[in-house]
C-alpha cells in the first residue's frame, strides 16, 4: 500500500512537471510586455550612464557608445595593438544596431492599438523579439561587470604586466564585447523580422500613393538585415575566436587576409549607403517597391548561403588547428575550398552588385 502511494505521488509529480514545462512554452507575448522590457533596458542604460555615453562613432551620433575609461581610451588613441578594434569594430557595430532599434521600436509599440488582429506570424515574431530583448538585457549586465573588471585591471596593473598578459586581458574582454554585439545585432534582427511579420511591406506593395518615408522604412529594414553579414564574419568568427595577425603563415593565410580586407571594404560601403544620413529617397510606385523587394529577397538567400559557408569553413579551425594549411585541412573538411570560394564570390561580387543596385533603386539623384 505504501509503495503504491509513493508510486502514485511520483507519477502525479512527473505529470505536473511535464505540464508546467509544456505550459511555459505557450502563451503570446503582449506588446505591453515588450514595451515594459524596453523600458527596463533603457532604465539600465540610464543607471549606467558612465558605461553608455553620448558620442559620435564613425559619423553616427549615439547615446549608447561604450566608454572605456581614461587608460584604455588612451590605448585606443595611441592605436596600441588590438585596442583600435574596440572602437572601430565593436562600438561601430553596436551603434549601428542600436540606431535601428531606437528608430524602429516605436513602430512595434504602435501595434498595441490593433494587437488583437495580429496574425500568428506576427505574434510568433513578437515572442522572438521579446526573447532576444530579455537575453540582451541580461547579457548587458554581464558586460558591464566584465567591463569594470577589465578597466580596473588596466588601471591597476597595466604598467606592471608584460605585453602578452595585456593582450590576454584584452582578448578576454573583446570576447565579452563581441557577445554583447552579437546579442544586440540579434535583437535588431528580431525587431526587423517583427516589422516584416506585421505584413507592412506586403501592404505597401498593394497601395498607391507611397511616400518617401515608406521607402525609408524599407531601407532601414534592409540595413538591419544586412548587418550580421559583417558582424558574423568580423566579430563572431574572427575577432572573438582568435588574433588573426598572429596566426601561422600557412598556404591560405594571404588569401583569407585578402578576403577579410574585402569584407572590411564592403562594410565601409554598406555604412556609406545604409548608415549615413542620406534620406533623399525616391517615392516608389507599388510595382517599383515590389521589384526592390524581389531584389532584396534574392540577395537574402545568397546571404544565408554565405553565412552557412562561413560557419562550415570554420576559420578558427583552419588557422589554429591546421596552421592555415588548406591541403591538410581538406582531409578533415572536404568542402572547405567550396565554402571559401562562396565567401569570396559573395563579398567581391554578389554583395557589391546588390548594394549598387539597391542604392540606385531607393535614393533619388
Amino acid at each position: 500500500m505504501k509503495i503504491k502511494k509513493s508510486l502514485a505521488t511520483i507519477f502525479i509529480c512527473c505529470v505536473m512537471v511535464v505540464a508546467a514545462f509544456g505550459l511555459a512554452g505557450c502563451g503570446d507575448v503582449s506588446v505591453a510586455t515588450i514595451k515594459e522590457n524596453f523600458e527596463t533596458l533603457n532604465a539600465y542604460y540610464a543607471g549606467h550612464a558612465d558605461v553608455f555615453v553620448a558620442g559620435s562613432v564613425d559619423g553616427l551620433e549615439t547615446n549608447l557608445k561604450v566608454n572605456f575609461g581614461e587608460k584604455i581610451n588612451s590605448y585606443i588613441q595611441q592605436d596600441k595593438a588590438g585596442y583600435g578594434e574596440l572602437e572601430n569594430l565593436y562600438n561601430v557595430a553596436l551603434v549601428i544596431s542600436n540606431d535601428y532599434i531606437n528608430k524602429n521600436k516605436d513602430y512595434i509599440f504602435r501595434l498595441e492599438e490593433n494587437e488583437k488582429s495580429l496574425n500568428k506570424s506576427a505574434k510568433n515574431a513578437l515572442k522572438g523579439l521579446n526573447s532576444a530583448l530579455t537575453a540582451y538585457t541580461k547579457y548587458v549586465k554581464t558586460f558591464v561587470r566584465e567591463r569594470s573588471t577589465f578597466i580596473k585591471q588596466m588601471e591597476d596593473f597595466a604598467d606592471d604586466i608584460n605585453e602578452e598578459t595585456n593582450q590576454v586581458y584584452l582578448r578576454r574582454f573583446k570576447n565579452t564585447f563581441g557577445n554583447l554585439v552579437e546579442s544586440n545585432v540579434n535583437l535588431s534582427l528580431k525587431l526587423a523580422e517583427t516589422v516584416d511579420a506585421t505584413e507592412i511591406f506586403d501592404l505597401l506593395q498593394q497601395v498607391e500613393g507611397l511616400q518617401a518615408s515608406d521607402t525609408g522604412l524599407v531601407k532601414e529594414y534592409v540595413r538591419a538585415k544586412m548587418l550580421p553579414i559583417f558582424t558574423e564574419f568580423q566579430i563572431t568568427e574572427v575577432a572573438n575566436r582568435m588574433n588573426w595577425a598572429n596566426q601561422a603563415n600557412g598556404t591560405h593565410k594571404a588569401i583569407i587576409t585578402a578576403l577579410m580586407n574585402q569584407v572590411q571594404l564592403q562594410y565601409e560601403k554598406y555604412r556609406e549607403v545604409f548608415v549615413a544620413a542620406n534620406e533623399n529617397y525616391k517615392t516608389f510606385t507599388k510595382e517599383q517597391l515590389e521589384n526592390v523587394f524581389d531584389m532584396y529577397e534574392e540577395f537574402d538567400v545568397q546571404a544565408k548561403a554565405a553565412s552557412k559557408a562561413l560557419k562550415e569553413l570554420d576559420l578558427h579551425k583552419l588557422a589554429v588547428t591546421y596552421d592555415n594549411n588548406m591541403e591538410k585541412y581538406l582531409k578533415k573538411n572536404k568542402l572547405a575550398e567550396v565554402y571559401l570560394e562562396k565567401l569570396q564570390t559573395f563579398y567581391t561580387s554578389t554583395l557589391p552588385n546588390f548594394v549598387d543596385a539597391f542604392s540606385s533603386a531607393i535614393f533619388a539623384e
Binding site: 524581389d294 531584389m295 529577397e297 534574392e298 537574402d300 538567400v301 545568397q302 544565408k304 548561403a305 552557412k308 559557408a309 562550415e312 581538406l330 572536404k334 568542402l335 575550398e337 567550396v338 565554402y339 570560394e341 562562396k342 564570390t345 561580387s349 554578389t350 552588385n353 546588390f354 549598387d356 543596385a357
Partner: protein, 280 residues
Amino acid sequence: MKKRWFIAIIILVVIAVVLAIVFINLFKTRTTKGFAEHFNTYVTTGYLAQDKEQYGTIDAYLAALSTNEELSENEQNTILNERASLHAYAITGQFFNRHIIFMKVTEVFQKQKGKIESSLKKAQNAADDLEKYINKNMDKSMVGGVVYWEAETYSDTKGFLADIFNFTTDAVNRLADVYVDCMPVANKNKDIAILNNDYAKLIFKQTKTLTENVSSKIGENASYGAILEKFCNSYYSKQGEELLASYPYNENLQNIVKDINTLGEESHFFAQFIDGNIAG
C-alpha cells in the same frame, strides 16, 4: 517475479531507444552534404580534376590519338569529340561543385542523386582502367611518336573512353535537372528563383542539346565537341557564373534571354549565345 519485471523494463527501454532513433532520423534536417562531398572528390582529385595526373594522362593520350593517321576519320572525330567533352565536363563539374552544398533536398534530388553517383562512379572506374592501361602499355617517350603502336592501343581503350563520355554526359544532364529544382527560391508566393532563373535554364537546356549533338554525331563531325567545350567554358566558368549572378540586375541580359526563349534559333542573339558570348 522480479526477473519478469526486469525483462519487461529492458524491453521497454530498448523500444524507447529504437523509437527515439526513428523519430530523430525522421525529423532530422536533410542536407546535400554527403552527395556534395562525393561529387567534390570527382572534381578535385578524380577524373574531372584538371590539375591532377589522371586527367593529364588521359588528355595527353587523347591529344596524341586525335592526330594519328592510322585511325579512320570516324575514329579521329570520335576522339576529338571525347577530348573536347572531357574538357567541357571538367569545367561544368566545377560549376556544380560550387553549388551542390547550398541546394535543398527535394524529391528531384532524392530521385536523381543515386543515378548521378552511379554514373560518375562508372565514369571514374573507366578512367581508372584507362589510366592503368596507358601507364602499363605506353612508353611516354613514344607519345606523339610511334604512330602505329598508338593506333593499336585504341581498340583496347575505346570502350573506356566511350564509358567516360557516356556516363559523364548522363550525370551532367541529370545535374542540370537537380540544379533547376533544388536551388533556393526566394519567395514561395512568387517563385523567385536564385541562380536558376531563365538565363540558367536556357544554358542548361542548350547544354543538353549540345551534348545530344555530340552523342548522336560523335564520329561524323569533330566540331560538335568543340562547340560544347567553348559553350561550357563560357557559361560554367567563374566569369560565366558572375554573369549568371548579375542576371537579376542586368536588364540587357534579361531582354536577350527573353528573345532567345521566344525565337529560338531565329533570334538575332542565338549565334553569339552558342558561341559563348551571350552578352555581346
